[in-house]
């Protein structure tokens, strides 16, 4: 059955949700962060439109502000984006249809972010299959443009806000990512990866200041996977098919 493009508009409405609200606040925080780093607003627009993954955007802008090299920046952004690949696969495995045009899959891939993954996990399976991809696409494209607006508001609001509130909004972002990681953690090695990534960061910052995130991510992630794997096998035997949506 061909895609039902009427579901695009249904998807647009899904932005008025709790997850959409959190995302809006964190993009207001992103705008305020950009402002506090002394960077131009265009950088916020371009990174939101072209990168559309806040960890990647923050890494890009942080490295830009530090005057990092092109290679180090591209590598670091790329490694934060690896996370998007399984998310794209998980959303598409529920949304795509065999024998239908493939271009919408490539457009949807660009819209995938942590929040879209969370909202999809909650509601995509309630929709008939031919409505899912248009629904996700409507939601994703709406999010991108809405968040360009939200970050612009945050950028110009940064000065008007009382400092303590501005701090809280900027803090939303690391807090949101941290809590998202923990609430989406499913396997034992997810928790290990979070712990090792966190513990290795100060060490990385001390000994590999340019590559601290790469070192903590690669070493922590590989170690967590190797250490957590046997436990994962036991888990997946009786919990297969649950909780990874």
């Amino acid at each position: 059955m061909p895609y039902d493009w009427g579901a695009l508009f249904h998807g647009i409405r899904a932005i008025f949700s709790l997850a959409g609200l959190v995302m809006t606040s964190s993009f207001i925080g992103f705008g305020a962060l950009l402002h506090s780093m002394g960077l131009a607003i265009e950088l916020g627009w371009y990174t939101t439109l072209f990168i559309w993954a806040m960890p990647g955007q923050v890494v890009y802008l942080t490295m830009l502000a530090q005057g990092a090299s092109v290679v180090a920046t591209a590598l670091a952004v790329s490694l934060t984006a690896v996370r998007l690949m399984p998310m794209v696969m998980l959303i598409l495995s529920k949304a795509r249809q065999e024998g239908q045009p493939r271009w919408p899959e490539y457009v949807l891939a660009h819209c995938v972010a942590i929040t879209l993954w969370v909202i999809s996990g909650q509601s995509i399976e309630k929709l008939p299959r031919h409505r899912r991809l248009p629904w996700a696409l409507g939601l994703g494209v709406t999010m991108i443009f809405a968040m360009v607006g939200a970050m612009t508001v945050g950028y110009y609001l940064a000065d008007a806000l009382p400092p303590i509130l501005a701090c809280a909004i900027i803090f939303l972002m690391p807090s949101f990512f941290g809590l998202s990681l923990i609430s989406s953690a499913y396997y034992r090695f997810d928790y290990l990866a979070i712990a090792l990534g966190a513990v290795l960061t100060p060490i990385g910052m001390l000994y590999f200041p340019q590559f601290d995130l790469l070192v903590a991510g690669l070493v922590g992630g590989c170690a967590a996977f190797l250490l957590g794997r046997p436990i994962r096998h036991r888990l997946s035997k009786h919990e297969a098919g649950e909780g990874r949506s």
């Binding site: 609200l21 959190v22 305020a32 506090s36 950088l43 690896v82 598409l92 941290g178 998202s180 997810d190």
Partner: protein, 115 residues
């Protein structure tokens, strides 16, 4: 080559967009061939999780902008409050998030009024 030497939009397209979209396309292509629960993807998932955890930790230890004026103790405790609330109310991530923000504001108000 310094990233700051490039026009902002071109730099973001070349060193932000392409390297990000690469993984998105990889996902589109691989979803037909790979088992989404396969071993290779789980390793990728672990690395990505550790990387985002590292980013969170770095932003707590060494934040940019206004947040740098807060104490690292307040930031770390605020995140801890969020994590504890999340463990107590698994379904309500937004409640945990609000608790964490509130904790940061409370800790900072106490700290600045004591000094």
């Amino acid at each position: 080559m310094n990233i700051a030497d490039w026009p902002s939009w071109l730099g973001i397209l070349l060193f932000g967009f392409t390297v990000t979209y690469f993984w998105r396309v990889a996902g589109v292509v691989l979803v037909r061939r790979l088992d989404p629960d396969g071993e290779a993807l789980l390793l990728v998932r672990a690395i990505a999780t550790a990387l985002v955890a590292a980013l969170v930790t770095k932003l707590v230890i060494q934040p940019s902008g206004v947040l740098a004026e807060t104490s690292i103790v307040s930031r770390a405790l605020a995140l801890l409050v969020g994590i504890i609330v999340l463990r107590l109310m698994k379904r309500y991530q937004s409640v945990a998030l609000m608790a964490s923000l509130l904790a940061l504001m409370v800790f900072e108000t106490i700290r600045t009024s004591l000094l």
